[in-house]
């Protein structure tokens, strides 16, 4: 099965979703990410969904679950690069992803993490 690569950049982890997500990949990502946060002691997770142009309620919930999971492991999650169409879809689905931090691109997302919560010190 295809697995999404998780890159470690300083005290943060970066997941860049470049392919169409299947449900089993999403579940694998949640497990891998939890393992990596524990292994590396990362304090922040950046999920880049710039390339994602189709979302459903399952993907929306996945983002919320990852955020909750990271928070338990004391890491902040930032979702970056959401496309307008995706954002509109999520709002229409009634998923406002409360409690998830968002940023326009990876750079701003990493800056957000390093300014808040003391990640990167």
């Amino acid at each position: 099965m295809e697995r999404l690569p998780i890159l470690k950049i300083g005290p943060m982890l970066l997941v860049s979703i470049q392919v169409d997500l299947r449900d089993d990949m999403v579940i694998a990502l949640q497990e891998d990410l939890a393992d990596r946060i524990v292994d590396t002691g990362a304090r922040g997770v950046v999920i880049d969904i710039t390339a994602l142009d189709i979302v459903d309620s399952f993907t929306g919930r996945m983002l919320a679950t990852i955020a909750a999971l990271s928070r338990v492991l004391d890491a902040e999650t930032v979702v970056v690069g959401m496309r307008p169409a995706v954002a509109i879809t999520l709002v229409e689905l009634g998923l406002s992803l409360d409690g998830i931090k968002t940023a326009l691109d990876v750079e701003r997302g990493m800056r957000l993490l390093s300014s808040a919560g003391g990640v990167g010190r």
Binding site: V79, A87, T102, L104
Partner: protein, 279 residues
């Protein structure tokens, strides 16, 4: 088969064609009150009369949907479209065709065959009118579309701050366009703050508020903050009376206040920026 119902009407019409066109043109010109030149009108009506007379004298002359009327119909389409685009009233357009009846009656005389000819003209006038209405509808839908696009400019106020001045009523279709345009601009310009100014929105009801909230939540999902500004006193009253909750969304009375808030959050020192640009 000869065109029985019309007898020798066509031949008689042909004989007095010039007189016919003159009478017809006089009637039409009176109703158009000089907005189309006499020469233009003369050419237009002469062509139509010629096409109608040849169509009527052809076989199956009484059936205006037959192929013989192809040219006449095409000319009438041109006429009614031109009238619709130039903003002539329905009456003025219809008179252009109906006046032919009077002209024929006066210069050829009303007989048994005139009734059959009159039916043909009625049919053609109805056809003209249908085309006229269709052309007017096209004009209206085009204008509505243009308004939708024109009325939603997104302006850049500062590096990282865009404003969306909303003017006019916000219905579902327009809210959708506004939402898409704003979100796309946020991506294109990399702006983290968007100010939605509702000074020009005449009324805010629950539906409008719902559209605004959706836009703001979508912008948040993308990593941008929205500030609502331009809330007039009456609008504030309505919002409270309707029990609309804007939650933790920043609302300001004026666009200036909203810009100050955005600049403050970004941490811009306006004076320093100005001296840097030599102002």
């Amino acid at each position: 088969m000869t065109s029985e119902p019309f007898g020798d009407l066509i031949e008689r019409c042909r004989a007095v064609e010039d007189d016919l066109v003159r009478r017809w043109r006089a009637d039409v010109a009176a109703s158009l009150r000089g907005r189309v030149s006499e020469i233009e009108l003369d050419k237009e009506l002469r062509e139509i009369l010629d096409a109608v007379l040849s169509a009527v004298s052809a076989a199956e002359g009484a059936d205006t949907r037959s192929a013989a009327y192809g040219e006449a119909r095409a000319l009438l389409v041109d006429l009614s479209r031109a009238r619709a685009l130039q903003g002539f009233s329905p009456r003025e357009t219809a008179v252009s065709v109906f006046a032919l009846k009077k002209a024929v009656r006066e210069s050829v005389g009303a007989g048994e065959e005139f009734l059959a000819f009159s039916d043909v003209i009625d049919e053609l006038a109805l056809f003209t009118f249908e085309t006229y209405a269709k052309a007017r509808e096209e004009v209206i839908s085009n204008q509505a579309e243009q308004l939708l696009e024109l009325a939603t400019p997104v302006v850049k106020l500062w590096q990282g701050v865009v404003a969306l001045p909303l003017v006019g009523t916000l219905d579902s279709a327009r809210a959708q366009v506004v939402m898409e345009k704003l979100l796309q601009t946020l991506v294109d310009t990399g702006s983290e703050y968007a100010i939605i100014d509702i000074t020009g929105v005449p009324a805010v009801d629950t539906q409008v508020a719902q559209h605004l909230l959706k836009t703001i939540v979508a912008a948040r999902l993308m990593g941008a903050e929205c500030i609502i500004s331009g809330i007039r006193p009456q609008i504030a009253q309505t919002i409270v009376a309707l029990g609309i909750e804007f939650g933790d969304i920043a609302t300001k009375a004026t666009l200036a206040d909203a810009l100050m808030l955005a600049l403050g959050r970004i941490g811009v020192d306006v004076a320093a920026e100005m001296s840097k640009r030599g102002l």
